[in-house]
Structure formats: C-alpha cells, structure tokens
Amino acid sequence: MQRPIVTVWSLLAVDVSEKDRKRSLVVMRQSPYGSSLSRASVDLALAMGAFEQDYDLLFMGPGVLQLVAAQDSEKIGVKNIGRILSSLPLYDMESVYVDAAALERYGLNEASLVLPVKLLDDPSLRSLLNDSDHLIGC
C-alpha cells in the first residue's frame, strides 16, 4: 500500500489561534527571468496567501527587477512575473517593501513599478528583518 504523501500545502494550513499567528517576510532577491527561482518564490507567496498566512514581501538587490512595469514575457514562453505580482494585493498580502538603494542603483523609481511599495533605507531594512517572525530567502 502506498504511503500518503504529506504536502507542503497541508503543513502550511495549520490552524493557529490569532495570538500565535506568526508574520513571515519573504525576501525576493532574484531577477525575474534569469532563472526559475523568481517564479518559485512568487508561487510560494501565492500559496501563503491561499492558506491565510500573514506575510510581507521584501524585494532586494536584483529582486527589484521583478517589479518593473510593462514586462511582456510572452515571446520567451514564461509567465509574466510583473503581472502575477501586481495581483498579489488581492491575495491578502500585507505590504511590499523595496530596497531603496537597489532601486536607485538600477535607475528606477516607484513610478516604474507594477504596484505600490514602501521604500526602505538600510537601517529600516535591518529593522524589518529583525522584527519578522520568520524569514524566507528566495
């Protein structure tokens, strides 16, 4: 007889009381189309939303490139990361934080992004990392 496989989804769907709820921070550091890692982390965020986990997103370093508006990935045959990300507020995601230094380094600004974000300087970035219950580096 085959043993039942415990899926990640069933593990995430643990029922916890309100006071025990933990807040996770997903740290996105990968550019959108250089590898499949960005897509995997976006899927993680969608799954966390579907299972009512409290989480925020932090885009850092090359990860800020996932947020660039007007992405059109149709001709390279992969899903449009920017479009998926722009839909995340519908899935109960609380806040989107962006590494301000990286944004500036790439010559971008808030207006060039697919959704409203909160810009963080280095000290605020360190506080955010320290104040989240769980960190998931992607």
Binding site: G61, A101, N130, S132, L135
Partner: protein
C-alpha cells in the same frame, strides 16, 4: 538576532546585500562559495572584518576550497556546531 548563511562569492550582489543586512547581535556563517569572502588580504575580507556581526565559517567547505591557512582569524565550525547555531538564533536568512 539573525543567523545569516552566506553561500555566494565576493563578487556577488548577495555578498554585498548580506553585509548590508547584518547588524550587531547577528552571525554570518560562510559556507560553499561564501568561504572565498574570507580570503586574507582580499577586499571582501576587509569588508567582512568591518561588519558588526560575528563571523564563522564551515570547516569542511574551507578545507575543500584550500583555504585552511588563508582565512586566518575566522573561527571554523563543524556541522554539529552549525546545527546548534541554527537552533540558537531565532531567525535565519540565506544568501546565495
């Protein structure tokens, strides 16, 4: 209090972002590609030494890279110590 695990070389943005994120009370464990950041007299090592975080390196990876006598002053840890550290620090973040 964060345990940062750095598995990226000195020329990566991961290395720089790890340095930027680490603060007093944190520890940075160098492993895999990350051990090259510990090279004596390198630019990366200079930056690491300026970090307020505690520095450690995984002994097996340092040996594998041939850096046993080229990464002086950085305490080496074995796998058991690494596991103990991951239990001690409430949060862990990986850089690769």
């Amino acid at each position: 209090m964060l345990l940062h695990t750095l598995n990226a070389g000195p020329d990566s943005t991961s290395f720089l972002d790890c340095l930027r994120s680490a603060q007093k009370g944190d520890a940075i464990v160098l492993l895999g590609e990350g051990v090259y950041c510990a090279l004596d007299n390198s630019a990366a090592r200079k930056k690491l030494d300026e970090s307020p975080a505690r520095l450690l390196a995984l002994a097996s990876d340092v040996s594998a890279a041939g850096l046993s006598d080229k990464a002086s002053g950085i305490p080496l840890i074995d796998m058991d110590a690494f596991v103990a550290l991951s239990e001690f620090y409430p949060r862990q973040l990986t850089w690769y």
